[in-house]
């Protein structure tokens, strides 16, 4: 099949100085940490699938299965003071930047003590102190926002860098173009990471762009473009670290393309009817980022089974404890919806027909998923 030709990504420009790679300088602990974040991402998402099936996740569920290396390795190249804005496959990036599994679970489960107090879905949340800004659904919008965030670093002479994620689909938007162009002209300290995961919902990259590869677009913006194998967490770290260092040194914007593959549907309800038979299986068997890094940990870095097992156990404990707490979290109070639309006035009043009532209905109907089409109960393809 066509995609197999590209399934062994050939990175361009990512290893110019092959002698010393930034990842060579990572301590043994930091190398294991990379594994911890990838494993945490996968285990937490598996837990979310279980909760989704129990209908405890209120809206849609978005997986990053097979993309853990690109999410974790890239954000791992940032310092604490740097600011990142994720996209829907970047739960791993958010964990690295300090989002907690408990926050993510509460968010998906629409609880009142979730980071957005039940106002927003899934991983649409941020925390400026910890250095990440929440995305919105319209794609590409965070690129100009991050141009502005990094413009503020430049204006104030701060030693800080920004990083923004987009998928191959978002590169087609006007917001992406305008944002990256503005940041490039202003030489903002910004890294734009394009995660080329080969599908935007059902649309293959060949129908998204006539460009041969995403880094070709960098030329048009007058900025460097570097590509790496997105399923090799060390290569991801290396390419991003170089771009981050360039931005920090005043070198402006870099477009980083990470070649990877989205093994699950756009969301959990998507049965991937548009994916050629055997394609996802091929990636699961031959190019799983966690399997690949485990081999490196064992064979190149000399990690023993007990260290790896201990990490897995730690991840399971973290996820179990977070699930228990999230499940016990309260749902928001209905009247909370009227608070904080503006700074002043701080809250709206209920409309005239609702004065005196504390809830709109006696029982809140549960949505059957999201209203979007879903596969049959057996998940058959059509």
């Amino acid at each position: 099949m066509a995609s197999r030709d590209s399934s062994r990504p050939r990175a361009r420009g990512g290893r110019r100085d092959a002698s010393v790679r930034p990842s060579d300088l990572l301590s043994r602990e930091r190398k294991l940490e990379l594994y911890f974040w990838m494993r945490l991402t996968r285990t937490l998402e598996e837990r979310l699938v279980a909760l989704y099936r129990q209908t405890k996740v209120v809206g849609g569920l978005f997986r990053s299965l097979g993309q853990e290396a690109d999410a974790v390795g890239s954000s791992f190249a940032l310092e604490r003071r740097d600011i990142m804005s994720p996209l829907i496959r970047n739960m791993g990036s958010m964990l690295v930047k300090g989002a907690t599994p408990l926050e993510i679970l509460r968010q998906y489960m629409a609880r009142g003590d979730s980071p957005t107090r039940g106002r927003e879905l899934n991983i649409h949340f941020g925390n400026l102190e910890r250095g990440f800004i929440g995305q919105i659904s319209p794609l590409g919008d965070m690129v100009p926002v991050m141009a502005g965030v990094t413009l503020s670093f430049k204006m104030r002479g701060e030693d800080r860098v920004g990083l923004v994620y987009v998928g191959d689909g978002a590169t087609s938007t006007g917001a992406f173009h305008e944002g990256i162009n503005l940041a490039a002209v202003q030489r903002c300290p910004l890294v734009v990471v394009v995660e080329s995961n080969q599908y935007a919902y059902s649309t293959p990259t060949s129908k998204q762009t006539a460009a041969r590869q995403m880094i070709d677009k960098a030329l048009g913006y007058g900025i460097p473009g570097e590509q790496a194998d997105g399923n090799d967490v060390l290569a991801v770290y290396d390419v991003t670290k170089r771009a981050v260092d360039r931005a920090r040194a005043g070198g402006g914007v870099t477009l980083v393309e990470l070649l990877t593959y989205r093994r699950k549907g756009h969301a959990e309800h998507d049965n991937q009817s548009y994916v050629p038979d055997g394609e996802t299986d091929w990636w699961a068997t031959n190019n799983d980022p966690i399997d690949r890094y485990l081999a490196v940990l064992r064979e190149s870095f000399g990690f023993g089974e007990e260290e790896i097992t201990a990490t897995d156990d730690r991840v399971r404990t973290v996820v179990d404890e977070a699930t228990e707490l999230a499940d016990a979290s309260p749902f928001p109070e209905p009247l909370d919806c009227l608070i904080g639309i503006y700074g002043e006035p701080a809250s709206e009043s209920p409309l005239w027909f609702r004065v005196g009532s504390t809830a709109a209905v006696e029982r809140n109907e549960r949505a059957e998923g999201w209203g979007t089409w879903s596969a049959g109960s057996s998940g058959e393809k059509r």
Binding site: V58, G59, A110, R111, G112, T116, G118, R119, E120, L121, H124, I136, S137, P138, L139, G140, G169, A170, S172, T173, G174, A175, A200, Y201, S202, T203, K207, Q208, T209, S273, Y274, F331, P332, E333, P334, L335, D336, C337, L338, I341, E348, P350, L351, W352, F353, R354, A359, A360, V361, N364, E365, R366, A367, W370, G371, T372, W373
Partner: protein, 325 residues
């Protein structure tokens, strides 16, 4: 004839119009082989090919602009917004270019922009919006928002045949919940005509889209519990408004409640109230009142979303107030 869902009715209209007129084509994100996020366009590409059912990049400005250009040349594009919330991206080209094209450049834009709209589905702030008001305010655009399968079918056919740009809002909560029987002949539902969904004499509810079904449920309850005879007018088209139908129901019942899912400020209820004042104030026995969403970005959690949006119990309470005034 067998009943079809609201969603199937739209799909059938697309099939019929593509069959009838080779100039009709569809363009949007994931609408081809995948059949769209909600499967409205399922099967269209298999029948009419990739030239007439085009999978577009994620580029709402590009898609709407290209539709306008193709429409200038005599084609009849039907654009899908994957969720109507994303029509905001195309706001510039719709309001500045498309809406003014006929008036300033004598270049008509016979095109349809359609998409899943509305809340009650736990979709959060970017998959639940009702952005019709901004477009109703723009001269040059027509806006329809059907509530039944029959109207969804007939209005889609009318929208495709219309010589101006029609924004076609589809309520996603109704997609698979509402069914109806479609006419066997080539029948359209005219744009600009409201429909009396329920006859009554004590009070009129003017409404559209999912709120129609909330209103009908409330009307039934009011009849049973209060003995009130409630008339329900389904606007179906929001621009141009059917003033005659509005005036007729006001003159009949003398009491009006307007119900819509859109937020209050700048929502069409304000416009309707003003027109009633202008045309038939003397016929009113009570102030015109409205039940709308609160002026709040639509939140995700069920208890929050339900509080922000109008519910059946709200319509009942408000109707009782208007009836007792």
């Amino acid at each position: 004839m067998a009943e079809v869902t609201y969603l199937e009715a739209i799909r059938q209209a697309l099939f019929e119009e593509m069959e009838r007129d080779p100039n009709v084509f569809c363009i949007g994100e994931d609408i081809g082989a995948f059949g769209g996020a909600f499967k409205v366009t399922e099967g269209l590409q298999a029948k009419y090919g990739e030239q007439r059912v085009i999978d577009a990049p994620i580029s709402e400005i590009g898609i709407v602009g290209a539709a306008a250009g193709a429409a200038h040349m005599g084609l009849r594009p039907v654009v899908e917004m994957q969720f109507i919330d994303f029509i905001a991206n195309a706001y510039d080209i719709l309001t500045n270019y498309v809406a003014t094209a006929r008036y300033r450049a004598f270049l008509p834009c016979p095109m349809v922009v359609r998409g899943p709209s509305g809340g009650y589905v736990r979709g959060g702030p970017f998959h639940s919006q009702n952005p019709e008001a901004g477009f109703i305010h723009t001269p040059g655009l027509k806006v329809v928002y059907p509530a039944t399968a029959e109207d969804a079918h007939g209005l889609m056919k009318a929208a495709i045949r219309d010589d101006d740009c029609v924004l076609f809002f589809e309520h996603k909560y109704l997609y698979r919940r509402i069914k109806g029987e479609l006419p066997t002949s080539d029948t359209i539902v005219p744009i600009g005509k409201a429909r009396l969904a329920r006859e009554g004499k004590d009070l009129s509810i003017i409404t559209y889209a999912a709120a129609l079904h909330k209103s009908l449920e409330a009307a039934e309850l009011l009849e049973q519990e209060d003995g009130l005879s409630v008339e329900v007018l389904d606007l179906r088209t929001l621009a141009p408004l059917d003033d005659d139908a509005i005036v007729a129901t006001v003159r009949k019942t003398n009491r009006v409640l307007i119900v819509h899912e859109d937020t209050r400020t700048g929502g069409i209820a304000g416009e309707i109230t003003a027109r009633i004042n202008e045309r038939c104030f003397a016929w009113l026995d009570a102030p015109v009142m409205r039940v709308t969403a609160h002026d709040v970005p639509l939140p995700y959690a069920p208890a929050l979303e339900d509080f922000v949006l109008p519910q059946v119990s709200d319509v009942v309470r408000a109707a009782r107030w208007v009836a007792a005034y």
